[in-house]
């Protein structure tokens, strides 16, 4: 074993390779984030833009009951949609991991996932609107005479959000469950556990990090959702993403938009930290096991990249 300490050459090479990306992300991602932080403490300019003096005005404006109502609704819709998404995605990930045709199922999940998000939202508009597919069908079959109000309400927003983000939950769950040794379930059953007991006491604790990852990667994008509430929601289903965009494009209140963005950024970062610590704890637990067992659980090339993804 000859683990070298950091050498000058090594440091130079690392920087040569990584700095182009580092500089790019600093300029186009970190600096914009810093600007947002700074703007949230400034005053709204007369014609958009910002002015001095430094104030906490933007944060005080957030206490407006209208915004609070939207914020509460966003938290509620996001929690509901995330819970339903995970509840649907868990059995799917399990079934896919146990299937002999993993690639086929993955393809079936990925094709709608990669399809243009606007096309998918449009498809739901075409189905749910008052002269849409569903209403026309029901009318043609004689079940209803008048169109049902299926769209432009919170139910539609929740359903379409689940539709849009369920692949984000299925993929990490599949990846984690695929690494699970199903022989353990068999063993649990042989030792007298019922089927639900085997699932909840053996499978679930072992795929904890996958569940947390999929919660994070559904919760965060839904929390910041903008297009879905805009296109399939009504006035009563505005979410915080819509508020931010209105503040930027209509009211041109940049400090307020920045303050809201900062809040979302903080919540997202906290979620990610939670995910990271839980993954790290799991790895620490596995590290204490003898080497052979460890490889058994993690696989030789596991790299902790359980899953990470962003809406696109």
């Amino acid at each position: 074993m000859n683990v070298k300490q950091t050498t000058v050459r090594e440091r130079r090479l690392g920087i040569t390779y990584s700095s182009p990306m580092g500089i790019w992300l600093t300029v186009f991602f970190m600096v914009p984030l810093l600007i947002i932080i700074a703007y949230s403490f400034l005053t709204k300019g007369l014609y958009g833009g910002v002015e001095f003096p430094i104030t906490f005005d933007a944060y005080l404006q957030m206490a407006n009951p209208n915004f609070m109502r939207v914020l509460l609704r966003t938290v509620w819709v996001t929690t509901l949609a995330t819970a339903l998404t995970i509840a649907l995605a868990l059995p799917c990930g399990y079934a896919m991991a146990r299937s002999k045709h993993q690639t086929l199922w993955l393809g079936m999940v990925i094709v709608p996932f990669w399809t243009n998000s606007l096309i998918r939202i449009y498809a739901w508009i075409a189905i749910l609107s008052s002269e849409g597919f569903l209403n026309e069908m029901l009318k043609a079959l004689g079940f209803i005479k008048e169109s049902l109000p299926l769209i432009y309400n919170q139910g539609a927003v929740t359903a379409v959000l689940i539709y849009m983000y369920i692949p984000f939950a299925i993929l990490p769950l599949f990846t984690t469950i695929d690494k699970f040794d199903f022989g353990l379930l068999e063993a649990a059953r042989d030792l007298g556990a019922t089927k639900p007991q085997a699932i909840f006491k053996v499978l679930m604790p072992n795929i904890r990090s996958g569940i947390i990852t999929s919660v994070i990667f559904t919760f965060i994008p839904i929390f910041g959702a903008y297009t879905v509430p805009l296109l399939v929601g009504g006035k009563d289903s505005y979410m915080i993403g819509n508020i931010i965009v209105d503040q930027v494009t209509k009211t041109r209140n940049w400090p307020l938009a920045s303050a809201f963005s900062l809040i979302i950024t903080l919540i997202s970062t906290l979620g990610v930290l939670w995910m990271m610590t839980s993954t790290a704890r799991e790895r620490a637990r596995i590290k204490q096991q003898p080497l052979k067992d460890r490889e058994d659980t993690l696989g030789p090339s596991h790299n902790g990249l359980t899953s990470a993804g962003r809406v696109s």
Binding site: V3, K4, E10, R11, L13, G14, T16, Y17, S18, P20, M21, W24, L25, F28, F29, M30, I36, T103, L106, G107, I110, V111, T115, N116, S117, L118, R120, Y122, E131, F133, I166, D178, D181, F182, G183, R189, A198, F217, G224, T227, G241, I244, V245, V248, I264, T265, S268, T269, G271, V272, M275, T279, E295, D296, G299, P300, S301, G304, S307, G309
Partner: protein, 305 residues
């Protein structure tokens, strides 16, 4: 991603079990299956063909595809609305021969997708190599910077870039869209290529260097060829994500830089035209071809998307 920070870079290949044959430096992309895994097709008592989870899977897949099927079916409808009046190729004719603006938007999208994917792939792959194998001061910072854009909601990234570009007085247009797309593509390239590098043994580089290869020769003749599948996959992913993005593009686009998703958005908002239906089929077919091309890598993609 998370634990790479504490883990020392893999300098010696002792931990790697498989034989190091240069052409097989990277294990086949069928998935990271360890040596102790049970065979996949082994069926246990508890897993029935028509069990709860399989039924749920089929239902969810139907849920995912149903709206797409409706749209595709109605793209062959003679009438404009959702009342079926007869079979017709009217909307395809209109899509291909009478939608100049749509195709101009498509051209813009393609231009941005390929340029941003190219730049993102180059920057991301190089950085993945640097971060994986070398230790230096800014390492942790670069890792965080490459991770955050992936987890923040799109609205936040879009707005922060919009505010940034107007703060430094850059005219919104094709360049700003290109910059934004490159930024959100970089993290995916970085992640996919890092995953690929995990299966690569650093001692090969040392061997190449010992045999007299310069750093550059080692990079271009040894490293890059063996992580090529990862690079190609991440580039195709980048192209797809760039073609697909609406929210971020919406904020950083200016006059004359309409991309396809922006055009579709204006079609939805200001008078739905059934041309969207026919366009959907074309796009879905494209995605299916892409998924088929990448079928060997779907598992790696699933692990990082």
């Amino acid at each position: 991603m998370t634990t790479d920070v504490e883990k020392p870079p893999q300098r010696n290949g002792n931990h790697i079990k498989h034989k190091l044959i240069p052409s097989k430096l990277v294990s086949p992309p069928s998935g990271p299956q360890g040596p102790y895994r049970l065979p996949k097709n082994q069926h246990f008592r508890d897993h029935r063909r028509f069990g709860f989870s399989n039924i749920m899977l089929v239902l969810v897949i139907l849920f995912l595809f149903a709206p797409l099927f409706v749209v595709i079916t109605y793209s062959f409808n003679a009438a404009k609305g959702m009342r079926w009046t007869g079979l017709s190729l009217e909307w395809y004719k209109k899509l291909f021969f009478d939608s100049n603006e749509l195709w101009r938007a498509f051209g813009n999208s393609i231009m941005i997708a390929f340029s941003s994917a190219l730049v993102a792939t180059m920057l991301g792959s190089l950085a993945a190599i640097g971060i994986k194998w070398y230790r230096f001061k800014a390492r942790a910072y670069i890792q965080i910077a490459s991770f955050l854009p992936m987890v923040l909601p799109e609205v936040i990234i879009g707005i922060s870039m919009l505010i940034f570009f107007s703060a430094i007085k850059v005219q919104l247009g094709m360049f700003t869209i290109f910059a934004a797309h490159t930024t959100f593509n970089i993290p995916f390239v970085f992640l996919l290529v890092s995953a690929r590098l995990d299966e690569f043994d650093f001692s090969i580089i040392e061997a190449a260097r010992d045999l007299g290869a310069t750093e550059r020769q080692a990079l271009f003749k040894v490293v890059i060829p063996s992580i090529m599948p990862g690079i190609v996959t991440s580039m195709l992913m980048s192209v797809t994500m760039s073609l697909e993005d609406f929210v971020i593009t919406f904020f950083v686009s200016g006059p004359g830089s309409t991309t396809l998703p922006l055009y579709v958005y204006s079609m939805i908002r200001y008078g739905v035209s059934p041309v969207i239906n026919s366009l959907s089929l074309v796009l879905i077919l494209g995605i299916m071809i892409l998924a088929l091309t990448l079928r060997r890598f779907l598992k790696t993609i699933a692990a990082s998307s």
